[in-house]
Symmetry: C2
Subunit: 236 residues, 2 copies
DNA sequence: AGAATAGTGTCTCTAAGACAGTATGAT
DNA sequence: ATCATACTGTCTTAGAGACACTATTCT
């Protein structure tokens, strides 16, 4: 094989699908692209992301974490690969490959005001499998795939716990599942299932409200989501 | 944002994890790298793959299909993204990103003799989550992730059907599942489950053998794997 | 007392696991 | 008849779904 010429190298970027829940709706973080006319898709909304910086980024995940920090000021508790998209035509500047990550962040608390172009970052509600706005590049298709991945994974993991503040009630957790999945869940089955794992720890405190107080829980292990049993489950 | 200099572009490749089953063992296709001393990892076994050809390949999946065809002469019935790996150090030639695909091909029938360096392509048995040989680059880690993905997906899809010839018996299908998962399955539950979907179609023929003939089936829809019901399954 | 929300009891239903039993071919 | 393998009957168990019921706070 001959040496690889630089013109054989595609443009390489990272994009992020960052989800949260606000006002009982799944939301995704988008940024508005620069208005400079030499840029593709000027002023069009897009997934946050950007080109890999070979001097700054040790690997793709570091690059994604850096972009996330620059755009939102948060450190993602969970960053998951969604896939990569690469073709000759997805970017008018030439053959390009993007690697896409997915992150869930807690509702409300995040100030988007950190970066320079932060005024042009905002949450968009998911309607079905998309946002109302038409997105730059193939980001509409990518977002669709990320939502599908998220919904699928929520069926059998504790991922939605990352959408909540450190302490929460079972009802709040159930609401996160329901918002992401777009359907209601049965209360008793949900609670039995959640408590059957070692996912949650009671904290010795109740959430007071307008009625009966609710037990507060926190994640027993903040790092990675728990996987629930599924079909063909191994014998023990 | 300033224009992207070519030296900001990582090397970009595609690698394939191609699995089959032979002699009751899951096998992965590996190729031996060139012995030329200026190449990294000379004569070391590696996943088949190579750099994207910006003039030849329309997109990453076409590139993967081309590599697969060049190495094995088969057209993959199912090509699935596993993920991408990119870092400054995974290739000694510089910052590189590889996108990894997974394919299952039917046992036995495939002649590996197609390409030029075909003598250096062979099936390696999977032992646990790896092959005995030490692989080039980070291909050991990538293979481990691909096997994990495969095993996980087999728990709830009809993927192993792609490991079989067009017509097969339920016992043969069950054996494919058992080999991939590395554990035995209960016969009655397996058959009930398979026949409960519209995955299979009876063909009006039996497989004759040393004992009672077995009903032959084929896939009702050859295109994509079927997904089985799982926890939190939607109400109908 | 009544509203509101937290949390439980319990029945049904489905599908997996276990495993013994029956069916149908070759020899 | 015996062996080998295909295929089924049926009991048990685990967990989801349904849904009514009880519990604890507030006003």
């Amino acid at each position: 094989m001959s040496p690889i010429a630089v013109f054989d190298r595609p443009l390489t970027s990272v994009d992020l699908t960052i989800f949260s829940v606000a006002r009982e709706t799944l939301q995704v973080l988008l940024v508005r692209r620069s208005g400079a006319p030499e840029e593709p898709f000027p002023e069009v909304w897009a997934l946050p992301g950007g080109f890999v910086d070979l001097r700054q980024d040790a690997d793709l995940e570091h690059c994604a974490l850096r972009k996330l920090r620059e755009k939102t000021g948060v450190v993602a508790p969970d960053l998951e690969k969604v896939g990569s998209w690469g073709s000759a035509v997805r970017d008018p500047r030439g053959w390009s490959v993007t690697t896409v990550y997915l992150a869930l962040i807690a509702a409300g608390g995040t100030a988007l005001a950190a970066g320079g172009n932060a005024a042009d970052a905002r949450w968009w509600p998911i309607e079905g499998s998309r946002v109302r706005e038409r997105l730059a590049f193939d980001h509409g298709e990518i977002l669709k795939a990320a939502i599908a991945r998220l919904r699928n994974k929520v069926e059998y993991t504790s991922l939605p716990a990352f959408l909540l503040t450190p302490e929460f009630t079972l009802t709040e957790l159930q609401q996160m599942y329901e918002v992401v999945l777009g359907r209601t869940l049965e209360k008793k089955a949900f609670r039995t299932r959640m408590l059957a794992t070692d996912l949650l720890e009671e904290v010795p405190r109740m959430k007071e409200g307008r009625s009966r107080p609710a037990q507060l829980y926190r994640l027993a292990n903040r790092r990675r989501p728990v996987f629930f049993a599924r079909t063909f489950s191994p014998r023990d």
